[in-house]
């Protein structure tokens, strides 16, 4: 009996510790402070659905775009990045796949590795109007190349 209680307590403590490491536990999430998403209440689909199925959503989207030319969707990878990218201390957008940033942080936690950003820009380039990061760059935007991560999430 006493043993079971101890075991139960341990389990609870363990769970609390595990969840503490993952922001989703306390009603928080991985959404980066300062990003456009931080000011909104839902992802492009119900957040629970996106958390589980975003990979299917974007992989489907890439076929739709590349082969069929359909581009009016809210599921574009470019869109994910524009909404989820957050500004750094210098107000410039920080790569969504840099250490601790939205896509990278959860993928590091869940041991997922994607190579998408070997090709896809990890910040809006040129910056899109309306993102948290675009404000200080003003109108008359020039092409700002992405100096983000390379394939595998690391710089060589």
């Amino acid at each position: 009996m006493a043993n079971a209680v101890v075991r139960g307590l341990l389990a609870v403590a363990g769970l609390a510790w595990a969840l503490g490491a993952q922001p989703a536990a306390a009603g928080e999430n991985f959404v980066a402070p300062g990003s456009k998403a931080a000011g909104l209440t839902s992802c492009v689909e119900p957040t629970d659905f996106m958390r589980r199925n975003h990979m299917e959503v974007i992989k489907h989207q890439r076929h739709t775009v590349v082969h069929k030319g359909i581009r009016d969707s809210k599921h574009t990878l470019a869109g994910c990045i524009a909404c989820h990218v957050a500004p750094g201390p210098d107000q410039k957008p920080v790569s969504v796949y840099a250490e601790g940033q939205f896509c990278q942080r959860c993928h590091a936690y869940t041991a997922v590795d994607v190579n998408c950003f070997g090709c896809h820009a990890t910040v809006p380039t040129p910056p899109a109007a309306g993102t948290a990061a675009a404000g200080d760059l003003g109108a008359g935007l020039v092409q700002v190349p992405d100096h983000g991560v390379t394939a595998g999430g690391e710089r060589p």
């Binding site: 775009v65 581009r71 470019a78 070997g118 820009a121 380039t125």
Partner: protein
């Protein structure tokens, strides 16, 4: 999931078709409505259009690189950097180029012709024939391109292309644009500014730049639209396919060649 989404609602299609017919009919006979507003596509591309070009080599100026520069800028190719330790000669051979300025000389007469050489968007593309993964494909609207999510970088297509139109990316791409992702290990080539096509714009970066430079050598348009500027130009002036002996029915044609 993919299967379900891929299904086309035929009923809705034909309704839209009929509705469009109605509008056209009520406006005025012989008047064709063109959408002026550029908006992203919401329906799959069809083979009702075939994009193509007519390049008038007589107007292509010696020493001008407006089309090449515009293409580089549009597609982020100007962001390429020479890898450490690579020689200039090697970089010249290996850097990605989607348009090359070429000079051809008639050995008999000595006449020199300038022309931009790019993917010819063949109706029967050899690159597509040889691709082992289906990454090289021809979109319904005639654009020959690479799905880089499926490309394994084997470069068979580069060997098969009679126009030397394709490039392989040899090193990590540090700088890229959102609209035109590109990265190491894939083949790439002119896709007739596919992002512009799908957003309803009327021209390509190269054609715009050529016109802005005052040359108007590149005419871009729909080969299947009998009233379009391209079809009219093709009907009125003699034009050729490069390597017409290969019978590829290219979408890019040259005049004064």
């Amino acid at each position: 999931m993919t299967q379900e989404h891929d299904k086309v609602d035929g009923g809705r299609r034909s309704f839209i078709g009929a509705a469009a017919g109605l509008t056209a009919a009520t406006v005025a006979p012989g008047l064709i409505l063109h959408t002026v507003e550029a908006a992203p596509r919401s329906e799959a591309v069809t083979d009702k259009v075939r994009w193509g070009m007519l390049i008038d080599t007589a107007k292509c100026a010696d020493g001008c690189s407006a089309c090449v520069d515009a293409c580089d800028k549009e597609n982020g190719l100007d962001l390429q950097v020479k890898p450490h330790g690579a020689s200039e000669a090697m970089w010249d051979r290996q850097r990605a180029v989607w348009i090359r300025k070429v000079q051809v000389q008639d050995n008999l007469t000595g006449r020199v012709t300038n022309l931009p050489m790019l993917c010819q968007h063949c109706e029967r593309p050899p690159c597509v024939d040889v691709c082992p993964t289906g990454a090289s494909f021809k979109r319904a609207d005639g654009i020959v391109m690479v799905d880089r999510h499926t490309c394994i970088g084997c470069r068979y297509c580069m060997m098969a292309c009679p126009y030397k139109a394709r490039s392989f990316i040899h090193q990590v791409v540090e700088e890229k644009l959102t609209a035109t992702p590109r990265g190491k290990g894939c083949v790439e080539s002119c896709n007739l500014c596919v992002q512009r096509r799908d957003n309803g714009e009327t021209s390509t970066a190269c054609a715009d730049a050529c016109a802005a430079a005052g040359h108007h050598a590149i005419l871009f348009g729909d080969l299947k639209d009998p009233n379009g500027a391209l079809s009219k130009a093709l009907a009125s002036a003699a034009s050729r396919q490069v390597r017409e002996d290969l019978n590829l029915n290219t979408g890019v044609r040259y005049s004064s060649l």
